[in-house]
Amino acid sequence: MWPKALGAGLALLTVVAATAATPPPPLPAEHLDVARLPPPSPHWIWAFDESINNETDTRLYLYDGDAHRQLGQIDGGYWPGFATSPDHKTTAIATTYLSRGSHGTRTDVIEFTDNSTLALSGEIVVPAKRAQTLPTLYNLTYSADAHLLYLTNLTPAASVTVVDVAKRSVVGEVDTDGCVLAIPSAARRISALCESGRLLTVTLDDAGHEASRKLSTPFFNVDKDPIFVQGIPTATGVMFLSFLGDVYDVDLTAAEPKFAPVWSTTTAAERGRWRPGGDQVGALHQQRSRLYVPVHRGADGSHKVGGSEIWVFDATSHQRVGRWPVDVKKYGSVVAVQVSQDGAPLLFVATENPSLLIMDAMTGRVLHVEPKMGQSLWYLMNP
């Protein structure tokens, strides 16, 4: 056997030597080009990176949840607000620049990016008073007809700058009397959260100027169980989670808001022990009525602690239908969640280390993990 094996080995070496002696044909010359985006997919996600160690350089990464790769980036400047236009063709970013990078003259501006190319398509300079705060989906918002943009201001006086998108001009400013955010509804309404636990709703005229305003009755207890400002869009308005995990569903389809009966994500035994937390504390698949909430074990003051589990609820029956532990040791806790709105939804999960997890939104199965994405993924937005 041995001589036979030796002969075969020698023959192989001969072949290898011959192969080495004949190099493969050279690679063809390459042509430098700029990549074009493929057709948009509901499985794309915008992942906001606060760039915590250099916050003048935040970003929005566009990521493909099927191809598992980053498609591109929009620069976010300093503590930006961001919004997708109702036709999904444009991303608007409200941000702040100083003329010499870290110092110099301040300019606040809304920048528009063409979502088909990721190239800037325009800008509107706005009064230098926009709220520099952590992201929500309501710091900068479009009116339903896309004619207006609403920008939350904080100087610390609270107001909303109204912008005419088509004319690329500032229409005016609405004093929100201490109430914050610009939650849009109907063609010309915005609502803002108030310190009293009420919702201020301002109706604008066609030109974007205030026509009327009304304060709701208090709908949550500011002292005993405040709600997170990271509201979740619903088909009829917005949903808020409270620190203790109660759900406040606000219908904004009529001139005055309607508040659905409050329900809880926790059982009596869990209440106060398990809590929602993180930077983006919930996501809703509107058609399937599935609510995803990152939760952790914690006490009062832990509302920014990320989730060690994701709880899934039927937002219609209020039943918990899933309880998905996350490997916190491996990925860090969950600080943001978002779900695609299609028929085969993906759940996107940002963690503190930071990784981006792509999960089957119906089963919780982890389909892919994108490790170490940016510095600090604090918010996820559907394109």
């Binding site: 110092h103 301040r106 904080l154 006086a157």
Partner: protein, 172 residues
Amino acid sequence: MQQRLDRWAERAARAIARRTSRRGFLSTFGSALTGAALLPLLPVMRGAVAAAAEPDARQSDANSCEYWKYCAIDGFLCGCCGGSSSTCPPGTQQSPITWIGTCHNPGDGRDYIVSYNDCCGKTSCGSCFCNRNEGERPMYRLSLNNDINWCLANENPNYHCSVSVILGVAGK
């Protein structure tokens, strides 16, 4: 603008009043106003409790997030950025708007009123990030919120780091 600032300051004062006894409020607010000459322009009460942490770090290591004075701080500790727990790093500017918290010092058993100031004018320090939120509340309760950039009223609104300055012993 001034009216709005006044309204905001009034709400801040009311927030203090709600969270303290009348005597405590007066002594606290008095301390804050005294401190305002040197530190905060618009002091804001920030209720807080000491976090459960190892006593050593809470008492001795001013660059540890567990240090007792940082019970409601959210940002980079200035002690790691060229300043200290009560001084801004060279070349930065202190925020004229700030808030006040009450932290328990395990070393002497007293509760202290502390002023949280942001130091501004340079980009993020990037060292010793500390995020403790006892008593912190969302943005609609601005006087209790640490998610906004408190350098927002500075000529240069860049946030660099945060300090925690003792203003006095908290009244009972």
